[in-house]
Symmetry: C2
Amino acid sequence: MDDVARAAGVSRSTASRAINGGLRVSPEAQAAVDDAVARLGYSPNRAARSLVTRRTDSIALVMPEPDERIFTDPFLAATLRGVSAGLAGTDLQLVLLLARPGERPGHMARYLGSGHVDGVIVTSHHRGDRLEPELAGGPLPAVFVGRPFEDDGLRWVDVDNVDGGRLATRRLLERGCRRIATITGPLDMTSGVDRLSGWRAEMRAAGLPDDAVVEGDFTIAGGTEATQRLLDEHPDVDAIFAASDLMAEGALRALAARGLSVPGDVAVVGFDDLGVAASTTPRLTTLRNPAVEMVNAATSTLLALLAGEDVSPEPQVFEVELVEGASA
Amino acid sequence: MDDVARAAGVSRSTASRAINGGLRVSPEAQAAVDDAVARLGYSPNRAARSLVTRRTDSIALVMPEPDERIFTDPFLAATLRGVSAGLAGTDLQLVLLLARPGERPGHMARYLGSGHVDGVIVTSHHRGDRLEPELAGGPLPAVFVGRPFEDDGLRWVDVDNVDGGRLATRRLLERGCRRIATITGPLDMTSGVDRLSGWRAEMRAAGLPDDAVVEGDFTIAGGTEATQRLLDEHPDVDAIFAASDLMAEGALRALAARGLSVPGDVAVVGFDDLGVAASTTPRLTTLRNPAVEMVNAATSTLLALLAGEDVSPEPQVFEVELVEGASA
DNA sequence: AATAGGTGTGGTAGCGCTCCCATGCCCGAA
DNA sequence: TTCGGGCATGGGAGCGCTACCACACCTATT
């Protein structure tokens, strides 16, 4: 930076100010510094800057997903896109924190707690991650994508999962189905719990039994397996609400394997519409999960927090929307 | 750190040495420091350390993928897993660099060139990314996942794409197909080019025409569209080698739409086996792409480079393997 | 004409850490 | 006993930058 200052004919202080937004800098000095920076190809040393500003200019994207799900789930990709897009125009770095096999619990929480990043976006979190207590009330700005279990003092964005479960079920009711089952997401995730409770609410309101429930894991294989169990236990089901498209796809396969037609014998509704639904046979009727927009919103919120702005602590809940397919 | 040193009854210098591996530290001092660190919950300030060591303790994973492909391609997820797994046990951070819409070209190269990371893994790169010239011969340790176009002085790992193209084609020849087409990957990527040349080599060796070629983009929609073009231009094709499973899935759909049976009328072979192949109807015959192992190897190589070890500049090429499905 | 306030500027301290060097110590060899 | 050499230790410099402060200057207000 000394070189830049010298080349621009100003002091280090003025150069620094010019580089950082140019408050209290005359137009001439600003221009001279800009020119010197360009000519010398100067780029500030992040470490030195961090040391004094006590900011790291990086945020973490946390995915405490322990299993293989991360491999196939389009939600992961959507999340990355959303965050990356939200960071465009800032000079923040995106640090990715994936759960690693064999890692002791609390490792991530400790990492986050020790000042390596300025803020954090948590997604795909499970009950028992220890992230919620660590981040609630802590000094680190954090936004959860997906409602946390205990949301005291936590900011979060989510889709309206309960309403999604309701809409899916209503759709099945409207087409005349009466024995409607559901394959839930993991019940240690709120998205799993909430979609289930939407289904349950609608079933009860219709005066129908809400006992045909199998827990899935958001994967194709899990959906297939769950459907087999379901059909064994409740051979009379005429519809399935799967809490994700991947599981719905698994369900389609299990149904096909048993020679059941969709939607003739069993109607199927999925959840997400992140690419999978359009690629099944028949095409899935599903609920659009505005994942990218949602993650983008989470990122914006985090940026606002980092900028010290007053951000409403209210969660942002995105509407879901039924997408017509041929499966229900 | 002063606190730790004081609590341990040693000087800052000794504390620092103890924390960083403990060379020239007596067992007693080491124990005292370890104890103090644990008691005080001390974690070193990364910025301060970086400032003096001139290392950042972070590596970049670069995905200069400009389009939507990143959304659905399981290769992305496999890459993340592989890198994350490879970093387990180190205290390196993983910084994710995705191409952002509207970003001027060269932006990434500039970023990487200015010392923000200690090393870089590049994946999914295209001709024209400007990454190759920037990284070749430059000071920044770099490993490409996927052969670069100009590999002078670059380290890379890849699967044997040419052999993959050959194996796929041979399989189709063996089942008696004679009019074999291919849907290529993007031809500004070496994986696209190499799989095509494997196909071409085998076709020529068999004395068959190698003109039924359509360029795809590694997506389902692209595969569908390419297949339609293919069938229009060459109605006599009896087999298709698609350079990715996603495109193969698109092909299956286009074929189904035209009432052609698979593999009866047209046999199909895909490429990747990263989850998609198992979920199509019929199940795809494909080539296993050992993506996670490959990326893991790339990460190990990078770590070795960072450690200053002598690493052979030879590329590491992984074998592909035919996976039986029902489509060919 | 004198004062107050605002603006651009340069000097300087210090962020938390590692590295270099000087010091003191103990051991074995002369 | 004396001396050289290894080893553990502590002191201090300095990495590159920003934040604070003091200063000069310039314009409006009394």
